[in-house]
């Protein structure tokens, strides 16, 4: 595969000359217990070909039966995206020869999607952008191929491939936007904000774990450019399988710069599939005959039509959760945090955790402090998501309570969190086992203060003579003597009292 040298046009210049048009196709793997058309489990990361059966392997004589929960989840997604729900629709066979589907076809939906014609509002730079939704349909995921041989591990140049069909047949919802126009220089951010909003929405609906890094939410972006003031859209490219919010934004930006460079040099954009490279932030042509063929869709004969009962649809509509954007605004007001802090919590996937911690009794500021500080640092170190840390919001709330009641200080609290994360038990158990309770016995603390004053006579004299700032060294001495288990504020108070000065 050879890529001709391309000259990128800097983004700002490209935006002065061209107007981008976007279209996004997002795939969401539903979090059902079983697959779309058979009873195989859907657990991520199982050993190869351990979650397969005659139906998802496409063996002769097997018959698919649709998963009721997957149909329900798709309708709920459609409703949450303000879509109309089809009165009647069918599955369709999408025929292609490619080993990621053992049947040589994928069961999908063609001209009769389950949900159609909706919208979702996203916020970028304080501006609300309404994204039209063309359709939401249900299909089955494909197997996972590993390409062997060749230099890159990619399909090009591989000697052969191996396939694991555990993922084949997992329910997959495809959400397609209408063309997104008029966003101008905000286009890359709009694309990112849209995918982020979808992710939050799927999470609120509880229909998918939306782990982009595991591929349970992935996005294809279509980008084309037209000259400013023009009316005719340019030729589009489709960059496939973006698996992080950052990649979505970078891919759109890169395609704008690349296409503007080609158009500026008098070249033509080729309608093609492109691959995004995480390391360089660039895209390369992924065009292949296999992707350019016709799919010969026809109604799936083994599955009868779906005709969602209107009462059922209305019941599902009535039970929809609070929209994520509304919820974020409500929590931000309740917690009294800035836009910046709220955005940081959202990026760290901490909003649910902070909310649960607050529900368990912690003050919002404390809950946010621990999740976004110490716990975020620990999660980062171990390469985990915050929610994956082996600590519950209730346990974090208990630590906040112990600090608030003066039984722990922040330093000790960090040790308690460390103990809980290390599997040493609940916060109270860790306090007990590690002996972390603050020295609150006045007599004991007073004795330590006396000792520290005696050992630091020179410093004590300075304090006596009015240099109150020097008391810090004495407080440090007390903390050291108690291995950090003293209440620093109380120790300072005692020191000043004993030295006859008032703080």
């Amino acid at each position: 595969m050879s890529t001709p040298t391309e000259t990128l046009m800097p983004f700002d210049e490209a935006m002065e000359r061209y107007e981008p048009v976007l279209g996004l196709e997002t795939h969401v793997e539903l979090g059902t217990a079983s697959k779309m058309f058979c009873g195989c489990p859907t657990t991520f990361g199982a050993p190869p070909n351990t979650q397969v059966c005659p139906v998802c392997l496409g063996l002769p004589g097997s018959l698919p039966v649709a998963n009721a929960k997957a149909i329900e989840s798709t309708i709920r997604i459609g409703l949450a995206l303000n879509c109309s729900i089809a009165e009647w629709c069918r599955f369709a066979r999408k025929n292609y020869f490619y080993p990621d589907m053992p049947k040589n076809f994928q069961i999908s939906q063609y001209d009769e999607p389950l949900c159609y014609d909706g919208y979702i509002d996203v916020e970028v730079d304080g501006e609300t952008v309404r994204i039209g939704i063309e359709r939401v349909h249900l299909e089955e995921d494909t197997g996972k191929s590993t390409h062997v041989g060749g230099a890159t591990g990619r399909i090009h140049g591989a000697d052969y491939s191996t396939v694991d069909y555990n993922r084949a047949g997992i329910p997959l919802v495809e959400i397609v936007t209408k063309p997104i126009t008029g966003t101008g220089r905000l286009a890359p951010q709009v694309a990112r904000a849209y995918v982020a909003e979808l992710r939050d929405l799927m999470r609120a609906l509880g229909v998918s774990d939306v782990r982009m890094e595991q591929g349970s939410l992935r996005c294809d972006v279509n980008v084309s450019l037209m000259p400013r003031g023009g009316t005719e859209w340019g030729t589009r490219t489709e960059t496939k399988n973006l698996n992080s919010l950052r990649s979505v934004e970078r891919a759109v930006r890169h395609e704008i710069e690349r296409q503007a460079g080609i158009l500026d040099a008098g070249g033509r954009i080729i309608q093609e599939t492109r691959h995004f490279h995480e390391d360089t932030g660039t895209t390369t042509s992924g065009r292949s005959k296999e992707e350019a063929q016709d799919y010969r869709y026809f109604p799936e004969p083994d599955l009868v039509p779906i005709a969602p009962d209107r009462e059922w649809v209305e019941k599902l509509r009535a039970e929809l959760p609070e929209p994520p954007s509304v919820r974020r605004r409500r929590l931000q007001a309740e917690w009294g945090v800035s836009d910046h802090d709220m955005a940081a919590m959202r990026n760290a996937d901490a909003i649910d955790l902070v909310e649960a911690t607050v529900k368990a009794g912690a003050p919002p500021a404390d809950a946010r402090k621990w999740w976004m500080g110490e716990l975020a640092r620990r999660a980062n170190e171990s390469g985990k998501a915050l929610a994956e840390l082996p600590i519950t919001p209730e346990q974090v709330a208990r630590v906040c309570e112990l600090v608030a009641s003066g039984q722990l200080n922040d330093k000790l609290a960090r040790q308690v969190l460390e103990g809980v994360l290390a599997g040493e038990g609940t916060p109270d158990e860790v306090v007990e086992r590690r002996g972390l309770r603050i020295v609150s016995d006045e007599g004991e603390l007073a004795a330590i203060v006396d000792q520290v004053i005696a050992e630091n006579a020179e410093v004590a004299e300075k304090v006596r003579n009015g240099k109150i700032a020097a008391a810090g060294a004495l407080v440090g001495g007390v903390m050291k003597a108690t291995k950090g288990k003293a209440d620093a504020a109380r120790a300072r108070q005692l020191i000043l009292e004993k030295l006859g000065v008032s703080g």
Partner: protein
């Protein structure tokens, strides 16, 4: 009903991964024409009051509850595979040299 061309048969053959000789292309073009003409006769009896149908049974909404059921072991699943590697189905090169 327009006749099926040789090029259309060649296109279908390629989509179906069938290697057909020139003689076969001519032969099948004629046959497919006859088949399509036969099927087209259905349209003659389908009047406006008969809606198009894709399924023989007037059923809708046949669903199953979202419950896990036992499937095959990897050994069973891979038993009939022409080639196996690391508990995966091994398949020939997917994209040809020219891709």
């Amino acid at each position: 009903m327009s006749a099926i061309t040789r090029d259309e048969v060649a296109h279908l053959a390629r989509l179906s991964r069938l290697a057909l000789t020139d003689e076969e292309l001519d032969h099948f073009a004629g046959q497919l024409d006859q088949i399509i003409a036969a099927v087209a006769r259905v349209a003659e009896v389908a009047t406006d009051d008969i809606p198009p149908s894709s399924h023989a049974l007037p059923l809708t909404n046949v669903f199953r509850p979202d419950e896990v059921r036992p499937g095959l072991t990897p050994q069973q699943a891979l038993d009939q595979a022409p080639a196996v590697e690391d508990d995966r189905f091994r398949v020939p090169r997917i994209l040809g040299e020219e891709a």
